[in-house]
C-alpha cells in the first residue's frame, strides 16, 4: 500500500518538476466592437486567416476565429456565448488554425462543430486533430468513380446510381422527404464497409433527436457520426459545421476507408454565411449573398473524392441537400450547387402528393458519373427499365387525350403503372441490391404483367419474403454481381413459385 502511495507522490513530483511554464511573447488585441456573434478586434498584428483567437472574459475563455484581416482590425466570428464578451476585453492569438478532434472515437457520437459532445457520453477520447479548412485532393491523387454506393432506394439505385466519391445533390421543397432519403441511405450502409457523417446545419434539435433515435434503432450509429449545429446555435457555428464534418470524414479517407457525408442542408449554410458576411461588412451581391458564396460550397464539395490506390484508395461521397422555395431551381444557391455536384436527385411535390414516395422526378434527376459504378446485374436491368419509364411518361401524357389505344401502347402503359408502383418505397425500409435486381428483372421481362396494379406492392413484398426463404438467389447475385443464365432461371423459378401462392393474378 505504502509503495503505491510513494509511487503516486513520486510521479506527481516528477510531473510538476517536468512542467515547464513557457514564457513566450503572445500577440494580443482588444475588442473594439461585438455584435451578433461578430467581434472587431484591434491589435493582433500577426493574426493568420482562420486562426483560433481566445477572448479572455470574466466568464472564462471564449473561442473565436479570425475571418477578416484588415489594415488595423481583425474581424472574428465568435464560437461561443458572445454576450459574455465586453468591449475592451483582451484577445490572444493562439498560432493555431481551427481544428476538430478526429479518429475512431467520434463514431457513434453526436458532436457540435467544435467536436464537443452533445450526447452526454463524455469527452471525445482522441489526440488527433484535423484542420477544419483543407485544400481538396489534387488531380494526381484521384481516381475515377467505380464502386457503387447502395442507397437502398429502388428509384435511385436503378435510375440515378451514386458511386463512391461522387457528389449527388438532393434538392426539393420543404417536407418532401429529402432528409428521409439521406437517412435511409445511412441505414442501408450497414455491412457495406462505409462510415457515415451526418451534418445537420440549422435543423430543429427535435428533428435531430428523432433521427439519432431512428439511427440507433436500426443499428446505424455503430458507423455514424452526427455533427449538429442546431437552429439555436449562432451563425458562426452553422458556418463551420460542414467543414468540421468533412474534416472528421477526411481522417477515414486518409486511412483508405470509404465515407458517406450528408450536409443537411446547404441552403441554411449559405444563409448563415450571408449573415456573417453582412455583419463583417463585406459587400453584398445577388440575393444579398457575398461574392464568394460559390467558393463557399465549391471548396467544401471538392473535398469529396475518390483517391487512387497509391493514396490509399479511400473515398468521400457527399450528399448535399438544398431546400428550394416553391420549386424554384433557378435561384442563386440551387444553381450554384447543381453546377458543382455530379448530378441531382430532384424531389417533386406533385409526385409526393400523388403518393409516389420517394417523390423522385426521374426526368429531371441525373447522375453524371454513377452509372459506371453500378454492378453489372443492375446495369443490365436498369438500362431497359429507364427506357420503359421514359416511354411510360411520354405515353401517359399522350394517352390522356384519347381512349382508342392500340394493344402495344396499352401494354406499355400497364407496365409503366406497375413500374411506378415499384418505385414506391416506405421510409426506413432500404432494400438490398439483389432484391432490387429481382424485382426489376421480373418487371422488364413481363413477369408482373398478370399482377393487378393495385396488388403490385403486395406481390413485391411477398416475393422478397419468398426470396429470403430461398436465399440461394440473393446470395448468388451478391457474389457474382452479374446476371448469368443460371441466375436468370432461378429468378424465373422464384417468381413462378411465388405466383403459385397468391390468388389475385389476372387470368
Amino acid at each position: 500500500m505504502s509503495s503505491t502511495k510513494d509511487f503516486i507522490i513520486e510521479q506527481l513530483k516528477e510531473e510538476i518538476s517536468g512542467f515547464k511554464s513557457e514564457v513566450s511573447e503572445k500577440s494580443v488585441g482588444r475588442v473594439l466592437k461585438v455584435s451578433d456573434g461578430i467581434a472587431l478586434v484591434s491589435g493582433l498584428s500577426e493574426a493568420m486567416m482562420s486562426e483560433i483567437l481566445k477572448f479572455k472574459t470574466e466568464k472564462g475563455d471564449i473561442t473565436g476565429v479570425a475571418l477578416n484581416l484588415e489594415e488595423n482590425l481583425v474581424g472574428a466570428i465568435i464560437l461561443g456565448d458572445f454576450t459574455a464578451i465586453k468591449e475592451g476585453d483582451e484577445v490572444q492569438a493562439t498560432k493555431r488554425i481551427l481544428e476538430v478532434p478526429v479518429g475512431e472515437a467520434v463514431i457513434g457520437r453526436v458532436l457540435n462543430p467544435l467536436g464537443e459532445p452533445l450526447d452526454g457520453k463524455g469527452k471525445v477520447e482522441t489526440n488527433k486533430f484535423y484542420p477544419v479548412e483543407k485544400i481538396a485532393p489534387g488531380v494526381i491523387t484521384r481516381a475515377s468513380v467505380k464502386e457503387p454506393v447502395q442507397t437502398g432506394i429502388k428509384a435511385i439505385d436503378a435510375m440515378i446510381p451514386i458511386g463512391r466519391g461522387q457528389r449527388e445533390l438532393i434538392i426539393g421543397d420543404r417536407q418532401l422527404g429529402k432528409t428521409a432519403l439521406a437517412i435511409d441511405t445511412i441505414i442501408n450502409q450497414k455491412g457495406q464497409n462505409m462510415k457515415c457523417v451526418y451534418v445537420a446545419i440549422g435543423q430543429k434539435e427535435s428533428k435531430i433527436a428523432n433521427i439519432v433515435s431512428k439511427l440507433t434503432e436500426n443499428g446505424a450509429m455503430e458507423y455514424t457520426t452526427v455533427v449538429l449545429a442546431g437552429a439555436s446555435n449562432s451563425a458562426s457555428l452553422l458556418y463551420i459545421a460542414p467543414y468540421a464534418g468533412c474534416a472528421m470524414a477526411e481522417y477515414f479517407l486518409d486511412k483508405g476507408e470509404d465515407v458517406l457525408i450528408i450536409y443537411d442542408d446547404l441552403s441554411k449554410h449559405a444563409v448563415s454565411y450571408r449573415e456573417i458576411s453582412l455583419l463583417l461588412r463585406r459587400p453584398p451581391g445577388r440575393e444579398a449573398y457575398p461574392g464568394d458564396v460559390f467558393y463557399l460550397h465549391s471548396r467544401l464539395l471538392e473535398r469529396a473524392c475518390k483517391l487512387n490506390k497509391e493514396y490509399g484508395g479511400g473515398s468521400i461521397t457527399a450528399l448535399p441537400i438544398i431546400e428550394t422555395q416553391a420549386g424554384d431551381l433557378s435561384a442563386y444557391i440551387p444553381t450554384n450547387v447543381i453546377s458543382i455536384t455530379d448530378g441531382q436527385i430532384f424531389l417533386e411535390p406533385d409526385l409526393f402528393y400523388k403518393g409516389n414516395r420517394p417523390a423522385v422526378n426521374a426526368g429531371l434527376s441525373v447522375s453524371r458519373v454513377g452509372s459506371s459504378a453500378q454492378i453489372k446485374a443492375m446495369k443490365k436491368v436498369a438500362g431497359k427499365m429507364r427506357l420503359e419509364a421514359a416511354q411510360y411518361r411520354e405515353l401517359a401524357a399522350f394517352a390522356q387525350f384519347g381512349s382508342d389505344l392500340d394493344e402495344d401502347t396499352k401494354k406499355k402503359l400497364e407496365r409503366g403503372k406497375r413500374l411506378y408502383e415499384i418505385f414506391k418505397q416506405d421510409q426506413y425500409m432500404p432494400l438490398s441490391v439483389a432484391k432490387q435486381v429481382i424485382i426489376y428483372y421480373s418487371l422488364i421481362n413481363g413477369f408482373l404483367d398478370d399482377v393487378p396494379v393495385e396488388k403490385t406492392r403486395e406481390f413485391e413484398s411477398a416475393l422478397y419474403k419468398y426470396a429470403d426463404l430461398n436465399d440461394g438467389v440473393l446470395k448468388l447475385i451478391e457474389e457474382k454481381k452479374e446476371l448469368d443464365e443460371e441466375i436468370e432461371n432461378k429468378i424465373k423459378q422464384l417468381v413462378n413459385d411465388c405466383k403459385a401462392t397468391v390468388d389475385y393474378l389476372i387470368k
Binding site: 510538476i16 511554464s21 511573447e25 503572445k26 494580443v28 493582433l44 498584428s45
Partner: protein
C-alpha cells in the same frame, strides 16, 4: 469622402512636427474647428490613440507596461529595457511600472500588441489546466 482617425492623426502629426508651442496652439484650434465642421468629434479618442502611436514610432519611443508583484531592481529593469529595445528597435523606452500583488510573483510585460506573461499566477493556471487534462 470620410476621413479616418488614422488619417486625422497623421495629418495632425505632420502639422505640429517641429513647430514651436504658440504655433501648435493655433494649429490645434484650427484642427478642432475642422473636426467640428466634419462632425467627427466622436473620433477624438481614436485620433489621440493613433497620434500617440505615430509620435512614438517617429521618435523611436516605445511605451510599455511592466506589472510585477514587487518592484524591480535597477539591473532587472535594465534587462527588460534592453529586451524591449532589441525587440522593437526603439531608441527610448518609456516603462510604466505597476505593482500588483495578485500576480503572486514574476512579471507581465505589455508593449505594442504583445504580451509576455511570466507571472506565477499564469504558470499556476497552466499547471492546473495540464493536471486537469
Amino acid at each position: 469622402m470620410k476621413i479616418s482617425a488614422q488619417q486625422y492623426a497623421l495629418s495632425l502629426y505632420q502639422l505640429v512636427e517641429g513647430k514651436p508651442e504658440n504655433e501648435v496652439k493655433k494649429i490645434l484650434k484650427n484642427f478642432v474647428v475642422f473636426l467640428n465642421k466634419n462632425l467627427d468629434f466622436n473620433k477624438v479618442n481614436e485620433i489621440t490613440n493613433s497620434f500617440v502611436k505615430i509620435w512614438n514610432f517617429e521618435h523611436g519611443e516605445l511605451s510599455a507596461e511592466l506589472v510585477s508583484a514587487r518592484e524591480f531592481g535597477p539591473t532587472a529593469k535594465e534587462i527588460v529595457i534592453d529586451y524591449l529595445k532589441e525587440k522593437s528597435g526603439a531608441k527610448k523606452v518609456l516603462l510604466n511600472e505597476i505593482e500588483d500583488k495578485d500576480i503572486l510573483g514574476g512579471f507581465i510585460l505589455k508593449y505594442d500588441n504583445k504580451i509576455v506573461d511570466g507571472s506565477l499566477k499564469n504558470s499556476l493556471e497552466e499547471l492546473k489546466i495540464k493536471i486537469e487534462a
